[in-house]
Symmetry: C2
Subunit: 139 residues, 2 copies
Amino acid sequence: MKEKFTVHDQLLTDCFRLGQLQACHVLLHRNAAVPWFILVPETGFQDLLDLPAEERDRVVAEAAALSAFVKSSLGYPKVNFAAIGNLVPQLHLHVVGRKPGDACWPAPVWGNLTESVDYTSTQVTDIRRALETILALRS
Amino acid sequence: MKEKFTVHDQLLTDCFRLGQLQACHVLLHRNAAVPWFILVPETGFQDLLDLPAEERDRVVAEAAALSAFVKSSLGYPKVNFAAIGNLVPQLHLHVVGRKPGDACWPAPVWGNLTESVDYTSTQVTDIRRALETILALRS
């Protein structure tokens, strides 16, 4: 019997869980200073580039769909994309909307986003609903 | 006539150019503190996740091949992978070998790698030759 997959506690502490796509759970970082999404594929691999090619392509395709949402629906011209995982070993991909003049431009967000802004619950619900409509996100 | 593609000056300043794969130019960051490779696909797109799916998959496959080299040939257990580009607009992908205790572990290298170590020309040649053999890198 396949063991039930659970998202790492640290990610659940840092983020709102929005739902899931075909391959990945979709989280939203609680810091609203920039739109910072995190995708967690259901895999035991810890590095994106270690995934078998087909699975890797599927996961990156979901990141691309999320990136398109960040650009077209949230109005950010640039997306930073990274798989780091030096602190949280569970594979997770960062998809971060960026624009000149944002809270830590041009530095990458990791370790540099000192400004902290809260989402309202309405904002989180709006983002979740938009992803349900546009990307067929399910709960 | 297709204009000749040139790698961005800043990347050529920061890196050794090792050669090219089918889709990407392969650079090696001059700071030898960690094995830090940079892939530059020949495209006008600035964000990895904006590439058409087929091209995106081809580029990520080359990053995966390079990552396998970093792990199996250079002996690094972890690879950080990112497409940021907030400073240098030309699309480039970071493939960085990491291990606990390295020069800036567990911080990401961007903005945190204060230690600087030089490669010898022999070391660069050895890496280039290994990539020519293992990944069919050409000049």
